[in-house]
Symmetry: C2
Subunit: 372 residues, 2 copies
């Protein structure tokens, strides 16, 4: 098919360091492209296949099974594919888990996204912010000794990876006797995560596992035993459980892309330990480049809390940052501007980004520093 391009630079999907929606593997994009005119097993466009078809039921079943395999998820968990992003979960979680509880739910405020989750939860019920990094500008995460978890909390909520600030927890937080709820939107399926230690995990797709428009929720059966019976159907996890994620028309296309990603994780990558090793090596390359730059590239996060997904850094002046972004764009890179709330530069190195792409970025960074 011919292509007309009105912009000058030759951007490359493989060099898309966007914070999200993020880059997907080339082999998956090829399959997605084919599906627009014809899903091989069906013979029809993915956009015109009924969500009630046997084929789509098999898509949901295979995807659920792949996620169970990747995470070694026990049978007492439900795997749901919902709409509304993490934002919808910010409300749905307290709506389903908070009613009837005497003690508040505990939240950590570790950055931009956990702040959003707290604001929405407070509209629903009684929330206690156990730790708040606002005063210190979210440059680091709490140390274990700073956290005094209540034994009677309704549940405990945290964000495993703060996308904006580039902060990531590298161990499981909280008490095993309090329901543990985690927003893994920006590191889900990027590494093994001890899913069986959580009551509820949620992640929108548009970082590591697919396009915007679908959100994965893993929920332990017993977490919902006290859920109220007066919720709107689409905000009640049990509606979606009972309907196997087809309570109403699901985002068929987005779910299919997530299936292709899980196939890629299982067959091409070989599972989450391998994926973690690759992601770890990409992050090591990036942070090595920062650390060896004599302060030209300044990492935002404390060393111990550095994210394997989002490498957030600044340059000596905002003028130099502008030039960095412009020259990177001319060289085919995209998505490197920091989040609008913090500025600077952010290189997001999700599953879909290859080690080679990170090498290319590091080479560009080194050359840019030399000529600056």
């Amino acid at each position: 098919m011919s292509t007309t391009r009105t912009t000058t630079p030759q951007l490359r999907n493989s060099l898309n360091f966007s914070g999200g929606p993020g880059a997907l593997p080339e082999s998956v994009l090829q399959q997605v492209q084919q599906s627009i005119l014809e899903v091989p097993e069906v013979g029809l466009s993915i956009l015109g296949i009924s969500h009630r078809s046997d084929w789509f039921a098999s898509v949901v079943a295979e995807l659920e099974n792949n996620i169970r395999l990747l995470l070694q998820l026990p049978n007492n968990y439900h795997v749901l594919f919902l709409q509304g992003g993490a934002t919808q979960q910010f409300s749905m979680i307290p709506m389903n888990l908070l009613p009837g509880k005497s003690a508040p739910a505990e939240y950590l405020h570790t950055g931009y996204w956990s702040g959003k989750s707290i604001a929405e939860a407070q509209r629903v019920g009684n929330i206690h912010t156990l730790w708040d990094g606002t005063a210190t500008g979210f440059g680091s995460l709490p140390k274990d000794e700073e956290l005094d978890f209540a034994a009677d909390a309704a549940y405990f909520h945290y964000v495993s990876n703060e996308t904006v600030e580039g902060l990531q927890f590298h161990h499981v937080l909280g008490r095993d006797d309090v329901p543990r709820v985690c927003d893994m939107s920006s590191d889900f399926l990027s590494r093994p995560c001890s899913a069986e230690r959580y009551s509820l995990i949620y992640a929108h797709a548009q970082k590591n596992i697919g396009p915007a428009g679908v959100t994965v929720v893993l929920v332990r059966d017993e977490a919902l035993k006290d859920a109220p019976n007066n919720l709107p159907g689409f905000l009640d996890y049990r509606s979606h459980i009972n309907a196997h994620s087809i309570f109403n028309t699901p985002p068929v296309f987005a779910i299919y892309v997530v299936l292709l990603i899980t196939r890629w994780l299982l067959k091409d990558i070989g599972g989450l330990s391998n994926m973690e090793a690759i992601n770890r090596s990409k992050a090591a390359l990036m942070y090595h480049a920062l650390d060896e730059s004599n302060g030209f590239y300044r990492g935002r996060a404390a060393h111990a809390d550095r994210s394997m997904m989002n490498v957030s850094f600044s340059l000596p002046t905002s003028e130099i940052e502008k030039r960095f972004l412009a020259e990177a764009h001319s060289a085919g890179f995209s998505g490197l501007a920091g989040h609008r709330s913090v500025g600077g530069i952010r290189a997001s190195i999700y599953n879909g980004l290859t080690v080679d792409a990170v090498h290319e970025l590091v080479d560009f960074m080194n050359a840019f520093q030399k000529r600056s």
Copy 2:
């Protein structure tokens, strides 16, 4: 790209009569396919472009403008692109429009989907079902003289086209001095609709205007003047208005496809009057085939209420219906099975279905009848 097919019949996108997600025009599918690897104006995959990019802002702006052009929508209406389908709207509408009102909202129960909307609205507040076709099996719609609209209703809600039963209103219902709310999910942008007479119109995309995963809402500014201030952000229309539909990450891909459909409606079709003429001619072909079949094909809907979108009918026996579906499938047709709640046959002839496709189906139906 090579294609492997594991099913025998050669299904054709152009002969997809599915009730939804439905067929999209071939020229749009071609553009969508190209965008998976590269959106021409950007040079990146549509799946990896940030929803905060200038390009996506231009997509939302052009799409909003196209809808305003197509419907001649006044400036006091907001155009929103949300997630969660019509089902989310079933709850959001009473949550936003009902609080503070003394009288109930009035609903018509004219079929499967209006029934769903009533059940969800009743969870939120005070609802009065003004007319109920349950007892008569939803074979027809109410006559004007059967409807005694209350002057003080909080709002009046109805479904313009009942997808399952194949019933469609062919005029605007209700009082002009009561806020009029309409679920146009299955006939939105299939014909002019006097949008300026409604306080709120909603439609998921997967019938006439795109893939599953995005829902269009048109809402008159004053309709929200009494909306409560304690709603979760994503359930408050004003959050989405203030954020120009980017309150949280929107379904970028689905919105882009809807943009392409509106371009097609404006440029290739030439507007909604032309689209209606085409849809009317397709429906005429289908109903003529039923009426001329000497009772072999039995239309479900009363003549006056026949839908231009969904032609629902039955054959003399369920055995013959099974054979009809099997032979149609072998001939390349798909999506012809009736909704699971009513059975029979349903030919959905949304915008994306061509007149030629309907001719092919009618030819098939005539031949099938002859050999039966």
